[in-house]
Point group: C2
Chain length 461, copies 2
């Protein structure tokens, strides 16, 4: 095999980077489960007609075919899923008779899109979604719930940059656009969705040219889109624009409830705010919409998005409304890892390396290691009986904090007991493998933020 070339758009992590990802996934899972979300995985493939129902994403789908497919191929017309929402909607309809509603699920899985790779956009990427889906009806309070759960999960990961969860409501903006006399609401929404990506002066022109508004209407849309607040003061500012109807009022009430409901999870590192410019373009949301930007990484776009669907899925007779939020784990982490802004302090899980004095004592060393493992301490035994200095360097290179020395019994040197050395401090003490444990923070690799160069990285694990 000649040295393989990296494949653009298919990021891979080194073991110490993978620890950071695992740490994030573990945290997400833990918080999701504490809130009663059950794990679901769907198959990676869906029928093409299912994947292409929305039309717009067709060019991004990876189609599968068996290399030696025969005529009666029963797996023709399948492709890899490009998100976790389409497969989940299908799962809900397919297994509805065996699920209990409202149904809370989390889904942490890969998805694929054949789009041009760029910063934060990959052809293979990991998503972490939570959704709550009801049968016929779904209480509005679940909109608040999914935002709070994701906020709690992300806010606990203190090595990540600060984030801003931006929330809006489709009823509010649709009602407003109707109120000013816009006729092509979808077109307005599509243009408004470009705010932040396209220079502000261009938006007004697009609203006129592409959404059929006059200059005054365009100006009103921009004034609405400028409103943002971390409390419910946005309500007054919207009303001050003088465009009101039942839909606007319903949207204001819902958005205020979500902002109020998230007050307890807001912090300096995780800001929750009403942002009236959030539209979510072509997505079929019908109420609450979410986006999330990461401080210093605004160019990545939203790393965590979602909202309320009045009909996440339907089998014709029954409608399943849903609300959910989807974290782009790869989009959030891969740029941070690539720039070395977050890192783990080990490339192995091992907290202890048991030094091997000679091959004959491997059995005794294995027993020491098993004693430590029985107490929950990840341990490996040296692969070869090299000089002790070399074994210590082996541990150092991997970030293993402790080296265990079995008793040495040769003429020149005699130790009567087992000893364990913290190779970071050099401290070496007598120890008993049946009872010794390292400090709790040394049991697992620690993830540190390298973002403030003058600050010593905070310890977080």
């Amino acid at each position: 095999m000649s040295k393989p070339n990296p494949m653009s758009g298919f990021p891979e992590l080194l073991p110490d980077q993978r620890f950071v990802e695992l740490h994030v996934l573990d945290r997400l899972r833990r918080v999701f489960e504490l809130h009663g979300f059950a794990s679901v995985e769907t198959r990676s493939v869906e029928p093409l007609d299912e994947l292409l129902r929305k039309g717009e994403t067709s060019k991004e789908v990876y189609v599968l075919r068996r290399l030696q497919a025969d005529a009666e191929a029963d797996d023709a017309g399948i492709g890899l899923h490009f998100d976790l929402t389409v497969p989940f909607a299908r799962y809900v309809v397919e297994y509805a008779g065996k699920l209990d509603f409202p149904f809370r699920r989390y889904q942490i899985q890969k998805a694929w899109r054949g789009e041009r790779p760029q910063d934060g956009r990959y052809r293979e990427f990991t998503q972490a979604d939570i959704d709550i889906v009801g049968k016929d009806t779904l209480g509005f309070h679940h909109d608040i719930e999914v935002a709070r759960v994701m906020a709690e999960a992300l806010a606990g990961l203190s090595f990540l940059p600060a984030m801003r969860l931006q929330i809006n409501n489709r009823k509010l903006i649709q009602g407003f656009y109707q109120g000013i006399g816009a006729t092509n609401i979808d077109a307005v929404m599509r243009v408004i969705d470009k705010i932040g990506k396209v220079p502000a002066e261009v938006i007004a022109t697009m609203l006129v040219n592409e959404a059929g508004l006059d200059d005054t209407q365009a100006q009103q849309c921009l004034e609405l889109a400028e409103i943002r607040s971390t409390d419910t003061s946005f309500v007054k500012r919207v009303r001050a624009l003088g465009v009101g109807n039942d839909l606007v009022e319903e949207g204001l009430r819902e958005l205020a409830a979500v902002i109020d409901g998230c007050a307890s999870v807001t912090s300096e590192r995780f800001v929750v705010e009403a942002d009236l410019s959030i539209a979510r373009g072509l997505d079929y949301y019908t109420g609450t919409v979410f986006e999330t930007v990461m401080d210093g990484f605004e160019g990545l776009g939203s790393i965590c998005s979602g909202g309320r669907y009045d009909s996440l899925a339907s089998d014709g007779r029954t409608t399943y409304p849903g609300v959910g939020i989807s974290l782009g784990v790869s989009r959030m982490l891969v740029p941070l890892l690539g720039k070395g802004m977050v890192a783990a302090d080990r490339s192995v899980p091992s907290a202890v390396l048991v030094a091997l004095l000679d091959e004959e004592s491997r059995g005794a060393c294995d027993e020491i290691a098993q004693q430590l493992r029985a107490n929950g301490i990840p341990t490996e035994v040296a692969s070869a009986p090299q000089k002790l200095g070399k074994q210590i360097r082996y541990a150092e290179r991997r970030g293993i904090p402790f080296v265990w020395f079995p008793p040495i019994e040769d003429g020149s040197h005699e130790a009567t007991s087992h000893q364990v050395k913290d190779i970071r401090t050099g401290e070496q003490i007598d120890a008993d493998a049946a009872t010794w444990t390292p400090p709790g923070q040394d049991l697992t690799p620690t993830v540190t933020s390298q973002m403030a160069p003058h600050q010593r990285a905070e310890e977080l694990s």
Copy 2:
């Protein structure tokens, strides 16, 4: 959406079944990490020429193409990986400069094969692999290590059927086949690999017709293949066949060392034995080989296989020898789950449902839930303020063991304190959300074996 049809070969699990899978994956990961194996994930796709190097699996590969691929498509010629060994070998060569050897990794990921679906054979399936790979050399003791680690992981899953890890050594059987004068060793190995799948009387005929042996030689091969022992007594029986050479002796020594080394992990539920019929057909192993059968599910074939490669990977200048073992998680679990032979007692992670008396008290109920969650207790709040009997049935249907009642303040009934009810026993006690915790075994769903029909696990609904 009309009701979707299941897709043959792409198994999906219901939430309670997924708990069983997660439980197994958590156990595997925990044991792998305790032994110092680091997590690695590789991208799901590899260049086709890499996937097809072995030739034999070509018809099973799923090829990818973008639905609207253009001429300059830079992702032409890629396919989904069909195992985790080929991508890991590529990963080792690609990142060799950034890895420390010997390198221990575990990899729990999906793989895809376009083969005809049948019991235990899926088009999408989850594998859990451990491998240790060296640079230029790799100590033999690692052969023992991977067997012990996988045995420790599987033996701890007491709800699984008993298993039998069958170990052989390629040097031993190759040396033996050479010793009896066979010239086409690969052909002999390919036929021997069919033992158990093809009637015994057919094997002898195949050895003559397909591997060019005479009747005496074929008989000798069958005599060797009949030898099995859970201790090292196989050594004497092989020697009694009177075919000896250096290769046979080396193989005997290695196999005896692996069997001895696994003595401490052998139990009635997890038997480790030398089985001289194990050949691993076309796989390119060069020493130790592993297979594993599950009692009562012999028809699935081996659920956990692996062995030693003198050259897992090579970049021309450096060779990377490896030894590993791969667990077919889907092959092992999906049939058990499908037959209802293992099950979890909940469909949600929640241990507590906080009853909701009216919509106005949702805030107070959310606070109770957050207090419980802060103590590590998965908790959900009732979705709607239904009659209490309905809320208890909601919990029952999902297997949630406890319902929390906030104080009721109406004329007819008055409770002065919070109460929590074990809905399995009916026991209801006063409780403080800041301090109450359920028994440890109720914190997470319990996986039970349904294999003995009289031993029905606690029912939920």
